[in-house]
Amino acid sequence: MKSLRRMLRDRALLTGLVIVTLLVLAAVFASPLSTFPEHVTSFDPSQRLKPPGERFWLGTDRMGADIYSRLLFGARLTILVAVVATTFAVVIGVPIGLVAGYYRNWFSDLLMRVSDVFLAVPQIVLAIAIAQTLGPAIQNVILALSVTYWPFWARLVYAETRSLRNEVFIEAAIAMGASPLRVMVLHVVPSIASSIIVRTTIGMGATILAAASLGFLGLGAPPPAPEWGRMIAESREFLPDAWWYATAPGVAILLVVMGFNLLGDGLRDVLDPRIRRGGQRGG
């Protein structure tokens, strides 16, 4: 209860929460909220490149489709990619980090070296190589992002598990005869859950940004999918006249990524008192 009240007092967290909630609502209620729901797949060439106005709130694109409606349906795609890719990355990264952090042998060294190699290339570059090889499709974007982002969770969980390994309560559990699996799942994971949650929230923002870049490069879901990054790429031919074309999807990306970042920062402040913002220790 106390932490809930603290959450509501944190302005950053509240802003993030509102933005993320709005994104989810936009995705869930895309059909009733949109003014031209049919424009996701069918177009109206007579209405192409109309500026924002009463009929088309955010203008229309090169096919005469309503940009506002396409943005709403694009929110579904964005959430799908972010949630699934991040979940995969967590599901791969967390167990690897746990095992590598819990044991101290050649195998845990090897696991960490492997994750170091993945971290040795800028993530988006590796994702481009994978997505390019597999071809433009939404599942390939998800695959490329999960394969490149899991080491972040492995690193985090590894470091936290290592530092917990010598704590008395872990030692006590081992002394009581708990199996390694039991210790990891019932004792280590609950203690590091807040760090994982914070990292995952911020990771969602990073994933959305990376997915948008892949979409911009033409490696995302193929048209006519209302992918935000691809919408920005399409708009380039029609600049400078159709200024609204690139603006709206870019603002959408900006707000959503900002929402997840604020939410993550806020959650860190609330959940992890050790690293609360701004040195609060004496001095």
Binding site: R113, A120, S213, R236, A246
Partner: protein, 333 residues
Amino acid sequence: MRLLALAARRCLWMPPTLLGLTLIVFSISHIIPSDPARVLAGENAPIEQVEALRRKFGLDLPLPQQFFRYVTDVVSGNMGISLYTQRPVADDLLERLPATFELAIYAMILAVLLGLPLGVVSALRRNSLLDHAVRVVTISGLAMAAFWLAILLQLLFSMKLNLTPVQGRIDGWGPDPITGFYTLDAVLRGDWEMLGSSLRYLALPVMPLAIPAMATIVRFTRAGVLNVMSSNFVFYQNAMGLPRRVVIWKYILRSALIGTLTQIGLVFGNLLAGAVVVEAVFSWPGLGTYAYNSILQSDYNAIMGFTLFTGTVFICVNLLVDIAQAVLDPRGR
């Protein structure tokens, strides 16, 4: 002496990391469902021709052997032929490296020059108006898609206001390279007109790379300064009666800067990655545009070469950063 040992140990880790990177790239290029020999020979080629190509490129060998061939090729600088430019990928990449480095270095300089002071000041004046303003800028800077910012800047400054060129790197043909960095070449030649021209072309592409980098640096510097300010050794120095000015300049800044330095490797990696989309927007003739064109042409020898090359550059930068950090921070020795 221990510094030397540290540097040696870090250097020793490089070959295995590079080998691992090569293995990843090799695996990626071998997961494609289609048969590369069949693709090379063409749709209707007779089976003997496909088999001949398979033998020629060693595609009939077991995978470990193919990997060994690949590694020996890469080590000797052979990354295959680009299907699009019909030239060796390694030559293409080396030729475009200076353009990207020039862009990335200017972006980095701008990010550090703006980010460090802003981070320090917003930490020293925590919760002031300036601190809040800086926070708004960093939060937006980190959430912005670099290609979108690039397009908006191009729309405003090049297309609407006509202040800067829309795309390219210099007026007319580039000069004969000395270093390949046009601004540096211009200074070396004393050709001020050329310097002005290349700076005008640089101005816009640098921004979308510098702004997210600056945001990262501000964040880490601010957190670092705050962290040091509350540490016991600063408490001790304050208690000893050292003037605040001395404590800030001599102790707080030094420790905080070392913390920020570790982020520079990360920031540089982000710059290289951001260069792909930003260069594509401005047709900047560097590695990014090369990668972008290779994606459009499905030229994947070139893409794998780009990945490997960028990874290698990134690993080297991180190595230098680690060593620099060890030199600067006596506690890390």
